[in-house]
């Protein structure tokens, strides 16, 4: 049973799933690899590796403008991923899917094109106190270049968005955009997307979700969420590096000026005047990440075949187990106790620096991350310099969490 929903948990065949990920059979420092750093970047299933290899070995060429067989086949395979993403996110059309380099570029694209092109100086952008730097710095740059005010919605001690304080930020009617995480990469908190959208829209503001973490753990239906922009990154969803996604409502994409200039994003070029290609190509300059797009398509197929209900249930069970096991380790503080959360748990050990904890776990083959997780303002809010973080993928097992708990016990007795 799934503790959260009370419905029976769709079972993941973990043995089969783990066999799909060649790297999970590796040893590290003479120990079996226990990979608990998927929130930084997930491992890749054989299907993704094979899709990229097959493309390179049997049908590779540059896309879009080629009139020959290789180019046509590559274009088909690459553009098929756009369709898969439209289905994955329930976009109204494939034209709403823009390929980017990663989440960071997707967020910068909005900050640049919507920020400078549509927002007016004096308007405000709302972020939260638990953003990744990638959803802070672009807005600071917009603030400094374009006279936008940056407002920060606070979080509660449980690590949830403080909704009353959030709503209060809209009182003066100057908020033009909310740019906020859909799931914190440090606390695991899933933010209440529908309520955020309802409040923002009631005050005439658009909503951009940084879904870099959320889309790994939950089915995303942008039409149901009602948001205006949604950004994520392929390498966290079991796909290759080098490719990310921005979804945006078509009318917003139409309204926004282009971001980068170059090949593929134009309709015609003269020195005096250049006209832009139709969306989404207006935002896709230069040779795209072709092989990566093909790999991402395979990753989406893989995730869809397993299904988000099973993934979410599996991860909810893992988080529950992890919270129970880690709470039992003396001297361990766990950060964030949100009601709705995905597969990420941050913690600190009394008397041991997070870096030492991470290294001593690594020595046991257990990979966790330690540091500020690109969320320095959140660290300050939590009153720490850094945390250690364990994060889970669809291949993570209860045994691995037990190994983490046992590993932490060792570290503790080492430091005791």
């Amino acid at each position: 049973m799934n503790a959260e929903t009370g419905r029976p948990t769709p079972d993941l065949d973990l043995d089969r799933i783990r066999a799909d990920f060649p790297i999970l059979a590796q040893e590290v420092r003479g120990k079996k690899l226990v990979f608990l750093d998927s929130a930084a970047s997930a491992q890749k299933p054989r299907a993704v590796i094979d899709a990229m290899v097959t493309a390179m070995e049997t049908q590779y060429a540059n896309v879009h403008r080629g009139l020959h067989w290789m180019s046509e086949r590559t274009t088909e395979a690459y553009e098929a991923t756009r369709d898969k993403i439209a289905v994955l996110m329930n976009a109204a059309s494939r034209e709403e899917i823009v390929f980017t380099h990663n989440s960071t570029e997707a967020l910068n694209l909005v900050a640049h094109s919507y920020g400078r092109g549509v927002l007016r100086p004096g308007q405000a952008v709302v972020i939260s106190d638990m953003e990744h730097h990638s959803n802070i710095v672009p807005w600071q740059m917009l603030r400094d270049a374009h006279g936008i005010e940056l407002r920060v919605a606070p979080i509660t001690d449980a690590g949830e968005l403080d909704m009353a304080a959030f709503e209060a930020l809209f009182a003066d009617g100057r908020v033009g955009l909310v740019a906020i995480t859909h799931m914190s990469n440090v606390l695991g908190t899933l933010t209440p997307a529908e309520r955020i959208v309802a409040i923002a829209h009631a005050h005439g503001a658009k909503v951009l979700f940084d879904g870099s973490q959320a889309i790994v753990h939950r089915a995303i239906d942008v039409q149901a969420l009602g948001c205006d922009f949604y950004a994520w990154t392929g390498h966290k969803l079991y796909g290759p590096t080098g490719i990310g996604v921005l979804w945006a409502r078509r009318e917003l994409l139409e309204e926004m000026p282009p971001f980068l200039g170059g090949g593929d994003m134009i309709s015609s070029v003269t020195y005096a005047k250049t006209s832009w290609a139709a969306v989404p190509h207006k935002f896709e300059a230069g040779t795209p990440a072709i092989l990566e797009g093909i790999g991402l398509g395979a990753a989406i197929d893989y995730v869809q075949a397993i299904g988000y209900p099973a993934i979410a249930a599996h991860e909810a069970a893992l988080v529950e187990h992890a919270l129970a096991r880690l709470s039992a380790v003396p001297g361990l503080t766990i950060f964030g106790r949100a009601q709705q959360r995905g597969g990420v748990v941050s913690f600190a050990m009394a008397g041991a620096h997070a870096h030492d904890v991470a290294t001593l776990l690594d020595r046991q083959g257990i990979a966790v991350r330690a540091g500020h997780h690109c969320a320095e303002p959140l660290m300050r809010r939590l009153g720490v310099d850094s945390t250690a973080r364990a994060s889970f993928g669809l291949y993570t097992t209860r045994d691995e969490i037990d190994a983490l708990a046992a590993g932490l016990e060792k570290v503790r007795s080492f430091f005791a």
Binding site: R29, A352, H353, A354, H355, D356, T359, L360, D362, R363, Q364, A370, G371, H372, M379, D385, S386, E409, K410, V411, S413, F414, F415, A416
Partner: protein
């Protein structure tokens, strides 16, 4: 520390007794009452921070080194062992030792060590040689040394605290 029973031997290659001890109870981990120059080292990626204070004797050799640090066991132990080993040395000698030490923590060995004629000092720094197996921790081990280097630069430029 309860040891082999819990199977902790594996962890000893990097975190040797002396590293653990110095990391927890550094001997030079305070701002000295008197110093000539000081400099800070920051590791922005992890928030580790150290401030190193140096006093010179009339001949210009390093008389005392103290530090204030916030950081992991490795960076604090390294700062403390550094303070041990550079005391009494001329600045140029301290820098030579830094070069040898840096090579040791990056590669695990140090062909230059004999040439440096610092065999005894490097012997005392040896507990940190295991860092080379963990490249991401090299910065922790060298942070205080970089700060010392910057402090010596100041002294060379005639800057520093006027007493």
């Amino acid at each position: 520390m309860s040891d082999s029973a819990a199977g902790l031997d594996d962890l000893r290659d990097l975190y040797q007794e002396v590293v653990m001890d110095r990391g927890r109870h550094p001997r030079h981990g305070a701002r000295p009452a008197r110093f000539d120059v000081s400099a800070r080292g920051d590791n922005p990626m992890c928030g580790d921070r150290v401030e190193v204070f140096v006093a010179f004797d009339p001949q210009g050799a390093i008389e005392t080194v103290g530090f204030e640090a916030r950081g992991c066991a490795i960076s604090i132990a390294s700062a403390d062992l550094m303070a041990d080993t550079v005391t009494g040395r001329a600045p140029a000698d301290a820098r030579a030792l830094f070069a040898a030490f840096r090579e040791m923590v990056k590669t695990g060995h140090c062909p230059a060590c004999d040439r440096a004629g610092d065999a005894a000092a490097l012997e005392r720094l040896q507990p940190l040689a295991g860092v080379h197996e963990y490249p991401s921790r090299v910065k922790c081990a060298t942070l205080a040394w970089h700060a010392l280097d910057a402090a010596l630069d100041q002294a060379a430029e005639g800057k520093g605290v006027t007493r």
